[in-house]
């Protein structure tokens, strides 16, 4: 069964360091989402791609966060510099355009 792959599963980093997360969507899915989930809350969209184009990054803190999906397949989300408040679960999802979304296992980030 096809799955969304994310790595790493866990990451501990010191504040002010750079950190990157990787996501490989289900083959053929044109839409890719990055969500951030703070403990006790629902996921919040950071950025959404349609193929290689960003269609929504209104909630992405662009002073420190960046995301790319260069060939319209896998994607990288970067934080530089990391802050204590960035500690959260980072979730990647993919879907056919307008279709059912499937999530990866997530990356749990702890900033110390």
């Amino acid at each position: 069964e096809a799955e969304v792959a994310q790595s790493p599963r866990y990451k501990i980093t010191e504040k002010s360091q750079a950190v990157a997360f990787w996501c490989d969507p289900i083959s053929g899915h044109a839409t890719l989402y990055w969500y951030r989930q703070i403990l006790g809350q629902g996921p919040e969209l950071l950025v959404q791609f349609q193929d290689e184009s960003v269609v929504d990054d209104s909630q992405l803190p662009k002073d420190r966060f960046s995301a790319e999906r260069l060939k319209g397949v896998d994607s990288t989300l970067k934080i530089q510099p990391a802050e204590l408040g960035d500690s959260a679960m980072y979730l990647c999802a993919s879907s056919y355009t307008g279709g059912e979304a499937f999530f990866g296992q997530g990356t749990r980030l702890t900033v110390v």
Binding site: Y33, G42, D56, G98, F103, G106
Partner: protein
């Protein structure tokens, strides 16, 4: 964006009991999903249900799109049903998540 309200926020059940979780949307959505978040944080798909009723084993879901709500029914609950349940609705390009219902099933 739209507001998604889930109720109840917390629910404690005895094993074997039935429950209903509700999801209300402030505006129309063109599709809707229910998820179960496992203890490791992964969101597991339960239902993709823009309208109508679907059943999968002990779980079923009903979406009444015209009235902007969806219900998730859990029958004969088991301890493995514990976790957080989220609904999410799509409007335009975006998925909007509720704040979840935390379910604890005690033996």
């Amino acid at each position: 964006g739209i507001q998604v309200e889930q109720s109840p926020p917390d629910l404690i059940l005895q094993e074997g009991a039935n429950s209903t979780l509700r999801c209300n949307f402030s505006d129309s959505v063109n599709n809707l999903q229910w998820f179960h978040q496992n203890p490791w944080g992964q969101l597991i798909n339960l239902f993709y249900i823009p309208s109508g009723t679907k059943q999968n084993g002990r779980l079923s879901a009903t979406t009444v799109a015209t009235e902007r709500y969806s219900l998730l029914y859990i029958s004969s609950s088991q301890t493995t049903d514990s976790g957080v349940y989220f609904c999410a609705g799509r409007t335009g390009n975006q998925f909007y998540f509720g704040t979840g219902t935390s379910l604890t099933v005690i033996p």
